[in-house]
Symmetry: C2
Subunit: 241 residues, 2 copies
Amino acid sequence: MNYELYYWPTVQGRGEFVRLALEEAGARYRDVARESGRGGGVSSLLTLMKGRRLARPPFAPPFLKAGRLVIGQTANILQFLGVRHDLAPREEGGRLWVHQLQLTVTDFVVEIHDTHHPISGSLYFQQQRKEARRRSADFLKSRAPKFLRYFEDVMARSGRQPRFLLGARLSYADLSVFQVIAGLSYAFPKASARFARNYRRLFALHERVQERPRIAAYLASPRRIAFNNEGIFRHYPELDA
Amino acid sequence: MNYELYYWPTVQGRGEFVRLALEEAGARYRDVARESGRGGGVSSLLTLMKGRRLARPPFAPPFLKAGRLVIGQTANILQFLGVRHDLAPREEGGRLWVHQLQLTVTDFVVEIHDTHHPISGSLYFQQQRKEARRRSADFLKSRAPKFLRYFEDVMARSGRQPRFLLGARLSYADLSVFQVIAGLSYAFPKASARFARNYRRLFALHERVQERPRIAAYLASPRRIAFNNEGIFRHYPELDA
């Protein structure tokens, strides 16, 4: 199947979690809003999302067109791709567990985003800088360690030498945890140096995912947008206390 | 099957979305942390969640024990219950769509919670009151209308006289939207009076769910915890501008 991914073209954002799954699967997909010319660009995204044509409109990007389905919500898209591309276990308990982990990543990502936008996504960082410093301090002291400790613990329970969250087999949740570790390292390099010492399994998982042939090829390609200060993970040195 | 729900005993919180599904399904369940005596209470919840016994530990309540499965993350639990209790369509496209709606409710709920706790969940409201006023103003002006308009539009696209989000049939997402409307009406009565005029389909949906025999019986029972200022939906008059 040829997929069409719809996401904002200048940031990794939530779309990146989907891109990583598509790349690891070796799936064929168009990254529609990044294409120029007819049938591409942000206008194609907006036309589909805001138009009256869809009976099941997405609330926001990313969304994935797969044949006649238009699927929204990152974790939902990953769940769909997971069963199709062997990025999740087949039996119900395993599928629910990977999805549970993914939804916990979702929660973490909201909190990461809100470190720089604790008041409103429609105000600039500079308009909520004081609040961002306060929220980030709490995030780095309490919330990030709570999430990281949880995922570290999940790996510890997966076996004696777990390679992935579920033990021996890669799942889409591993790709997402890779992205979170990469993003935290970009946004909060000082804090992340501490995290790397405390959550060794997770940082080893990050390395392991990074070295997978398809992921390595993707990261080296122009398809991977660089981290920047418009996305979820933003580097403001004053927040990295 | 007899389910065991684990959630904090003194608030509706995220557990309430699960309770509503269990009640509508007429399922047999224990609300473990609300029971007194042996095998009940918060200690049972903490023992299971923090213990070393589970190979697949939840990050936080609510979680549901269903036979040998322990399932965490509200939307994930609902997805599981949906297929079992006819609270979601059977075909893949419909299942994904209901889950997509539920994950959008999840996003909305985070933003509702953060109106009173924009800086940190571990500080008191009084310690972030100024920030809460700023965040709430943005929420009521921009974010709440964006979410409500979206769900209103979903109903509008579901048919000429849609009774539920998917049209004719109730799904677990309807129960969750009911809960959000009920909660907003408690937390922000003044703003909600305006919302009721602008989003008539959603407020009619709220009435319709409230009048379902099992839901009505549940709401009138002691099993329904009253809204209070410890949960997601809190009434601080100063935030309801």
